[in-house]
């Protein structure tokens, strides 16, 4: 692929810690992430892998204390935005980068009308005042399929799916360059989830927005993402495009994720879950953090952290199983 890809977001060697009284939670440990302009980038991983932390670091919204970004570079369109002053950061938030949170039930202010909440972003980032902002709000509401006259209502009068639409309208109101969606449909019902996903897909295409889609649902990835990064214990352990990840799975962890899913076609097949649990983030295992759960673990795995091993110019894994020779062939059992 073209090495001069245009990046909207480039995270390099991000390290984030939560310094709690029970110890230091190493939530993100040297994470690299490149998101290309106009592409939808999926980030999958189990609970506690550091997905939300990564997303919040981009907007500098990590709860502090206890959270601290220890190291790393976060470039937005080539410009480092890490450590910007609050004032400058406020200009970026909601304008260049906006975010949709997991739970629509709690991410709207219960005592403000929804149109005021949407108009607020517009007011802060665009000149034109309140009237103008409301006008634009109504356009946004129509766009996400809500009648503008319901803008005067409060969040509790809306159902979950409608609230998530409001949140989407809010996130897209200023036509951000990058939209970060942190598990936007996890809290929703299957049918509503399908509605919202379809809506997001359409809007993304319409606005040509780049997107970071955080999820633990590989089905969603398959459906709307271009690129996928698999995160484990605060690091990207496998990265590639959909074909790389879905059809040429290399990392045992990624493989485990697939094997844990019930197979729609063969309902009798026994599930093959990854054994064990996510490691304690205050006390990560040495070497590859996945090795205690890995069926293929070797001596080296507990000693050294594996280097990135590229299968092609973008698909890489961090796993000792692979070297230049066997990476192309692959070595894992095929999933049923």
């Amino acid at each position: 692929m073209n090495s001069e890809k245009e990046l909207i977001l480039n995270i390099k060697d991000l390290k984030v810690e939560y310094r709690t009284e029970d110890g230091v939670v190493k939530a993100v440990n040297g994470l690299d992430l490149e998101i290309e302009k106009g592409k939808t980038h999926g980030l999958v991983g189990e609970t506690g892998a550091g997905k939300t932390t990564t997303a919040l670091s981009v907007l500098d919204l990590i709860q502090s204390p206890p959270g601290v970004i220890v190291d790393g570079i976060i470039e937005l369109e080539g410009k480092n935005i890490r450590g910007l002053k609050d004032k400058e950061m406020e200009k970026i938030r909601g304008n260049d980068v906006s975010m949709i949170f997991q739970d629509p039930m709690t991410s709207l202010n219960p005592v403000m009308t929804i149109e005021d909440q949407i108009a607020e972003v517009i007011e802060y980032h665009e000149s034109g005042g309140y009237k103008e902002a409301i006008k634009k709000t109504h356009e946004m509401l129509t766009l996400v399929g809500l009648p503008p006259k319901r803008g005067k209502e409060y969040p509790h009068q809306f159902s979950g799916g409608m609230k998530q639409r409001v949140v989407i309208a809010m996130a897209l109101a200023c036509r951000p360059k990058l939209l970060i969606a942190d598990e936007p449909t996890t809290a929703l019902d299957v049918t509503i989830q399908a509605q919202v996903l379809t809506l997001m897909k359409n809007l993304r295409n319409q606005y040509d927005t780049s997107m970071l889609m955080i999820t633990h649902d590989l089905g969603i990835i398959a459906e709307i993402c271009d690129k996928v990064s698999v995160i484990y214990a605060g690091r990207i352990i496998e990265h590639g495009n959909l074909v790389d990840i879905f059809d040429n799975t290399r990392h045992p962890y990624t493989e485990g994720l697939f094997n844990s899913l019930p197979n729609l076609k063969d309902r009798k097949a026994k599930l093959k879950p990854i054994k064990g649990l996510m490691p304690d983030p205050t006390d990560l295992p040495t070497g590859c953090p996945f090795h205690p759960r890995c069926d293929y673990a070797m001596d080296i795995c507990s000693k050294a952290y594996p280097e990135k091993q590229y299968r092609n110019d973008q698909h890489f894994v961090e796993c000792h199983l692979y070297n230049d020779d066997n990476i192309e062939k692959g070595g894992l059992i095929k999933r049923g």
């Binding site: 709690t106 991410s107 219960p110 403000m112 607020e120 972003v121």
Partner: protein, 308 residues
């Protein structure tokens, strides 16, 4: 909404019946005799007997209560044993003072405590937090009369800014208001702090931040209104406490309020007056609660439709 308000008042009726009846019984069971209190140390046996007869105290307690209650139904709260003045009239004369005192006190408390609470929450775990909470705590632990007299000594005697006693001008209410308000300040500041802390951890605050809203605006516009609900509850409860707990303040500042009247009446076993005061307190308390509930509805749209 009106139906709701109406229902609330209807539910007050059993409480008033219960309260008056129990107080009636208590006052009758309690040692101490209104007649001897009125006639004092020099009372002669004949005078005592005559006055008992005159006040109807020789009747059976239940008959006395029945008479009282029938009067109450007619809107007659009875006549004070001691002053022979109608209870309603006497209370009516003092109610404005107590009401003004309570309102001013609660206003002062709110004006002082909400900023303190916010400050403490925003600066959580810093010395500012500790300091503000310490000031707030002083409020509950300083004896009322001590604070009252100190204020009098300083502001009235030394500076001559406020009158020492009386209730004729608005200035008369400032020092008592501060004294009493200081008491409630602690409670209100503390809830404000903790509910503010709770609110600023909420997801929608993070949402607001992700929209690029400056932090100060987030506190004032997004967080405060959400944090206000528990604050209002406590402030409402405090008004109740203030209404009743104002005795010492009223005494120190010579304010002719109901708190003092009630204590005097209890001490003098002036049963109709005690009952009158308690009815007024009960009604006032539930009106305050009702107002609090209505304010809720304005602050929080989620609550509004519960009243429909």
């Amino acid at each position: 909404m009106w139906k709701y308000i109406f229902r609330r008042f209807i539910s007050l009726i059993p409480v008033i019946i219960g309260v008056t009846f129990i107080v009636f019984l208590i006052m009758n069971m309690a040692p101490g005799d209104p007649v001897k209190s009125i006639l004092g140390e020099q009372a002669s046996p004949e005078a005592i007997e005559e006055l008992r007869e005159e006040l109807g105290l020789n009747d059976n307690v239940l008959i006395q209560y029945k008479n009282y209650f029938l009067g109450l139904l007619r809107g007659d709260m009875g006549t004070s044993y001691k002053t022979k003045v109608g209870v309603a009239e006497e209370i009516g004369a003092r109610l404005p003072t107590t009401a003004k005192l309570a309102v001013i006190a609660i206003l002062i408390a709110i004006i002082l405590s909400i900023p303190l609470g916010i400050l403490a929450a925003v600066k959580q775990n810093t010395w500012l937090d500790s300091l503000t909470m310490f000031i707030a705590l002083l409020g509950v632990s300083i004896p009322v009369f001590w604070l009252g007299l100190m204020l009098l000594l300083f502001f009235s005697l030394k500076l001559g800014w406020f009158p020492v006693s009386g209730a004729s001008t608005w200035q008369s209410f400032i020092l008592p208001g501060v004294t009493l308000g200081f008491l409630s300040m602690a409670a209100i500041a503390r809830v404000t702090r903790s509910s503010m802390l709770e609110v600023i951890r909420q997801d929608y605050i993070r949402t607001a931040r992700s929209k690029g809203v400056p932090y100060k605006r987030i506190i004032t516009k997004h967080a405060l209104r959400n944090a206000l609900i528990p604050t209002i509850t406590v402030a409402g409860l405090q008004i109740g406490t203030l209404l009743g707990g104002s005795v010492l303040t009223e005494t120190v500042f010579g304010l002719p309020g109901i708190g003092r009247l009630m204590i005097q009446s209890i001490q003098g076993r002036d049963i109709p007056m005690v009952l009158g005061c308690i009815i007024v307190f009960t009604v006032a308390f539930s009106i305050v609660n009702l107002i609090v509930d209505i304010i809720y509805a304005f602050v929080d749209p989620r609550i509004k439709n519960q009243y429909s």
